[in-house]
């Protein structure tokens, strides 16, 4: 399928561009580490229950994502490369490429932050498998919702603050299901215990990705 190939090329271009400056990776990782340290420092290692810790984990992930996931489209506007990109690729491929980039970025951030979180928060999880599944499907949902919002705010002023404000109500279903699924996986190793959350996250991701693909044209051509 040619649009998938094109999307992969866009993705590779974004990766290459990212590694020239490493701006987004630095921003999102440092933000995550700072938030983690702030949380860990302010509540201490042993004082919180695992339920509270799973909520804290999602808050750290959410706000770290908010600090970096918007950059993917802002960069194109700031460097004035958006117009060229409009000429060389179709909107569908651009959206899919950027979505893939944001997803990979978010997962990479999780791979670094979550072990750190386990270490400094003394966090224990019984069901490692459901835990990983919920966090990665949650990653799809978060990156899908925030990629379209990133496209919207790249066309507006006051970008930084606006991104979180616009994204929060859209992404809250992911947070609700993610926190609940993580809480369950703390006490139970059985995957069937988190089926409801898993289904909801999958349904959300499918609906949001479909809606975002349909709507992206209108934002991109603006």
């Amino acid at each position: 399928m040619p649009f998938l190939h094109e999307a992969l090329i866009i993705f590779q271009k974004d990766i290459r561009q990212e590694f020239r400056t490493r701006y987004t990776v630095n921003a999102i990782l440092l933000f995550a580490v700072v938030t983690l340290v702030a949380v860990s420092f302010s509540i201490g290692t042993f004082s919180a229950s695992n339920e509270v810790k799973s909520a804290l984990l999602w808050i750290i992930l959410f706000f770290s994502g908010m600090s970096g996931l918007s950059h993917i489209f802002i960069r194109e506007e700031e460097k004035h490369t958006a117009d060229t990109l409009k000429l060389v690729a179709r909107p569908l491929s651009i959206f899919l490429g950027k979505l893939l980039f944001n997803f990979v970025l978010f997962i990479a951030m999780q791979i670094i932050i979550i072990p750190l979180f386990f270490a400094v928060m003394n966090f224990e999880v019984k069901g490692i498998f459901p835990f990983i599944i919920i966090l990665s499907v949650g990653g799809i949902g978060l990156s899908a919702g925030s990629t379209l919002i990133a496209a919207i705010i790249s066309k507006a002023s006051a970008r930084g603050a606006l991104f979180t404000v616009l994204a929060f109500p859209i992404l809250l279903p992911v947070l609700v299901a993610g926190i609940s699924g993580t809480k369950i996986s703390v006490t139970s190793a059985d995957f069937s215990a988190v089926t409801a959350e898993f289904q909801m996250l999958i349904a959300y991701s499918v609906v949001v990705i479909t809606g975002a693909i349909l709507l992206f044209d209108f934002v991109w051509k603006e």
Binding site: I149, I152, P169, P173, S180, V207, V219, E222
Partner: protein, 218 residues
Amino acid sequence: MSYFWKFGIFLWLILVFLAAFLWAPLAEGLGEYTRIIYFHVPTAWLTVVAFLIGAVYSILYLRKRQIKFDMIAEAASQIGLVFCLLATITGSIWAKMSWGSFWNWDPRETSIFILLLVYAAYFALRSAVEQPDRKAALASVYSIFAFITVPFFVFIVPRVYASLHPDPLVNPEGKIHMEGKMLMTFLSSLFGFTLLFFWIFKSKLELIKIKISLKERE
């Protein structure tokens, strides 16, 4: 004609208020506070209606690219925001009386709060874009995008997580469990507030027409 509507709705709502406070009997075993149902449910219902109208006109704007559709979507959202605030406040008072706290993140409370946030974000986005065309397109996209995620809150989250909230108007059995006089008051209140909503909406539409004709004259 417009006077007829204005005073008709005014009289109707006076009757609804009288009926709600004096005529309708109390639900069995519950206190006076349950009378708030005659005001809470209509406001919540109209919040959803306004949200729906906003989304429909946003779709129309993206298809037809006429600024008037975006202005209508904005007007519907403005009225929706007011009703959303009212639904949140009346719901919170009701929660205090029957559950003991003003706010405890019941799934239904979360969903109305999300609508409030969506409206706030929608207007924040509008204020952050200068050019009218771009503002209209971005706001429309956001409104539609929010509209496809809100059902997760309204329909799915309360199913997955237990809620203390009484069954909403659209419940699985499609029934309203109420006794005769209560039901009559309830339905007339719903009807009256819906009329009020569309009357405000109609006034907004007339205002939009005047604005557009003034712009054309310039």
